[in-house]
């Protein structure tokens, strides 16, 4: 138990340090811009007037010395308040980001489950008959999708399934005017709009899961306890189910945590192509609009989410594989 506590403490400390570094990076990055950020953005964006400029400089303490700015910034990170958006002037940036977050969670959540379940299934069947027809064809296919730029696959799916076959809608998360709810109509509308974005996100990321599951399982299958299990008369499928797969799960858990950062990147592109109003779509829009508070809030929240997910995976791994404690400690 002592060791467990030590391990958890170490994970917490590591995550906290990473968060602090991200916060620092976020501060430095946005002050690296030539000149002061407000001037830079206003000169580039006709949407802003002088009166707004004054207020913004006040809001962000931009005339204050750097260390005062830094303290203001840290405060805003701790309170999750990055000021009001430049575009929707009376809405806090964080509210906007959080509002978009739910769509991203729906999209990435669905796709993650799909890619993990399907990827694992393909990996297990492939490893069971390594080098067979199923194995090499699924491997080629998943690598083929992995090689595609996500946005390009999304565009191809739109061209085929939305434009040519007209099976699914090409954009938006729901029909115009519809709201998220628990009624059948709302859910089916949501799913109907979700098919193509989720499909493109799942297809581009599935290769990693297939490869890792297949690799891990192949490694496990060479272990002696597998031979023993076979020798005592268990069928191949039973050995696979009860002995091999559970042991091959460890690398999967760490992969899921690591690939989260990549899945978010993919979600950005999918959301942009499908005009899916998630956090990625908002970030890219904010980049075009030079909406600095929203950009900063989105950057912070996304990274925070990934760090927390990694931390959870660490703890989960510790319970699945107690050896890790001794390795790290």
């Amino acid at each position: 138990m002592n060791r467990t506590a030590k391990f958890i403490l170490k994970s917490v400390a590591n995550s906290l340090i990473t968060i602090i570094l991200v916060i620092l990076l976020n501060f430095v990055l946005f002050r690296m811009m030539p000149g002061d950020p407000i001037n830079f953005m206003i000169s580039n964006n006709p949407k802003f007037g002088d009166e707004l400029k004054e207020r913004l400089i006040d809001d962000f303490d931009l005339n204050a010395p750097l260390h005062v700015q830094f303290i203001t910034y840290i405060k805003s990170c701790l309170t999750l308040n990055f000021g009001n958006s430049f575009i929707e002037r009376n809405t806090p940036a964080m509210d906007i980001v959080m509002d978009n977050m739910k769509w991203t969670l729906i999209l990435t959540g669905t796709s993650s489950v799909l890619m993990i379940v399907i990827g694992m299934a393909i990996g297990i069947i492939g490893a069971a008959k390594r080098g067979g027809k199923f194995d090499s064809s699924t491997l080629t296919f998943s690598l083929f999708f992995y090689a595609m730029p996500t946005f390009w696959l999304a565009m191809m799916l739109i061209a085929i399934f939305a434009k040519y076959l007209e099976w699914f809608p090409a954009s938006r998360a729901m029909t115009i005017g519809a709201t998220l709810g628990t009624s059948w109509g709302a859910i089916s509308d949501l799913l109907y709009h979700l098919v193509l974005p989720a499909a493109s996100l799942t297809l581009v990321s599935i290769a990693a899961f297939v490869l890792i599951m297949r690799g891990a399982l192949t490694d496990v299958m060479t272990e002696e306890y597998i031979t023993t299990a076979r020798a005592k008369g268990l069928s191949k499928s039973k050995v696979l189910k009860n002995h091999a797969v559970p042991n091959a799960m460890l690398p999967m858990v760490s992969l899921i945590a690591i690939s989260l950062a990549f899945i978010v990147g993919g979600a950005f592109q999918t959301e942009w192509v499908f005009s899916y109003p998630g956090i990625g779509w908002k970030t890219i829009t904010a980049t075009y609009d030079m909406d600095y508070p929203v950009l900063q809030a989105a950057f912070f929240i996304i990274t925070l989410a990934v760090i927390v997910a990694n931390f959870i995976a660490d703890i989960l791994l510790m319970y699945l594989d107690p050896r890790i404690k001794t390795e790290v400690g």
Partner: protein, 328 residues
């Protein structure tokens, strides 16, 4: 190739060049190892397919002029179009024809020549960005693994930051924040700096295991310094790993370039042509709505093929150099 057997006195020029006996020994060892690696590699079907695809694209990039010249004779066009040769109005935004096999874009540039010439900058960005990533990744990994202790801890926390920040988010923010307009070198820098962290992790793990091996301890026992050990023992042992990783990173870098271009933060197509900014142009010109499908399909297909080639090669090399670490 049996130079080594000939007496030194008969070949005085060799001495001037400075190929001593040990050097020659080393070279022949290196050659033997390369031949052995190639034997294993050539048995890997995926690896060979990848190599063939890549050779095809390298030929396309190097001989773009000649290819266009030959095509212009075959197609019977007025002249061999370059990527910046504007076609006379009304030649803008046209679908494929006998004169322009892939049609033209909104400014009247011939898309076929753009696809062919586009391989040049796309591949260069892929390679140079990878070089940046590998220098950073291998550097941090070797130093961290070699030093250990608190210095390693500091380096790894920094690596973690780059590992957890979603690459696309960091790329967008960097491309947005860095001074100067979009240029090839800025894109190379942005891609390079976002792509090194996983390499650092893998290299570090390998360095840790190399460091414990007997030959390093022996070297240390006879008084070898840190630099010497890193150069002569650690680096040669992690190099194959870095190489296999580099091939995979080229694939990712090319994908990153296309994504940056797609968002509008890549190099601008007025100055250079990449497959990524061809796609960007296509989107801006609503190629999908105007049913100019070739404009979207061809550059994308080229990206897919090149990335697939690098991925196949990378995995084949990974299998050879690194059968255990595949788990990651």
């Amino acid at each position: 190739m049996n130079d080594a057997k000939q007496p030194q006195s008969e070949r005085p020029c060799r001495k001037v060049v400075g190929l001593s006996e040990t050097h020659r020994e080393k070279l022949s060892l290196l050659r033997k190892r390369a031949v052995k690696t190639w034997r294993i590699y050539s048995k890997n079907r995926f690896g060979m397919v990848g190599l063939a695809i890549l050779l095809g694209f390298v030929v396309m990039a190097v001989f773009a002029d000649q290819i266009m010249y030959i095509l212009h004779i075959i197609g019977g066009w007025d002249f061999a179009y370059g990527p910046f040769d504007k076609v006379e109005y009304p030649g803008a935004g046209t679908p494929p024809s006998s004169e322009h096999w892939l049609g033209t874009d909104q400014w009247g540039f011939d898309l076929l020549s753009r696809v062919i010439y586009g391989s040049r900058v796309t591949l260069i960005i892929g390679f140079v960005a990878t070089l940046v990533s590998m220098v950073l990744g291998a550097g941090v990994g070797i130093l961290g693994g070699f030093w250990g202790g608190w210095k390693d801890a500091v380096l790894m926390r920094i690596t973690d930051v780059f590992l957890v920040i979603p690459w696309l988010v960091l790329m967008i923010v960097l491309a947005f924040v860095l001074p100067g307009g979009p240029s090839v070198w800025k894109v190379v820098f942005v891609i390079g700096i976002t792509g090194w962290s996983s390499t650092a992790r893998i290299v570090r793990a390998q360095v840790f295991s190399v460091k414990e091996r007997a030959f390093v301890e022996r070297a240390r026992a006879i008084g070898a310094g840190d630099m010497h050990i890193v150069r002569k023992h650690v680096f040669p042992n992690v190099f194959p790993l870095v190489f296999a990783n580099a091939i995979l990173t080229v694939a990712l870098s090319i994908l990153s370039e296309s994504t940056l271009s797609f968002i509008g933060l890549g190099p601008q197509s007025i100055n250079v042509v990449t497959w990524g900014n061809m796609l960007e142009d296509a989107i801006n010109a609503s190629a999908m709505q105007n049913e100019l499908y070739w404009w979207i399909v061809m550059p994308g297909a080229c990206i897919v093929l090149v990335v697939l080639g690098f991925t196949f090669m990378g995995h084949a090399l990974d299998d050879i150099f690194n059968p255990k670490l595949r788990k990651r």
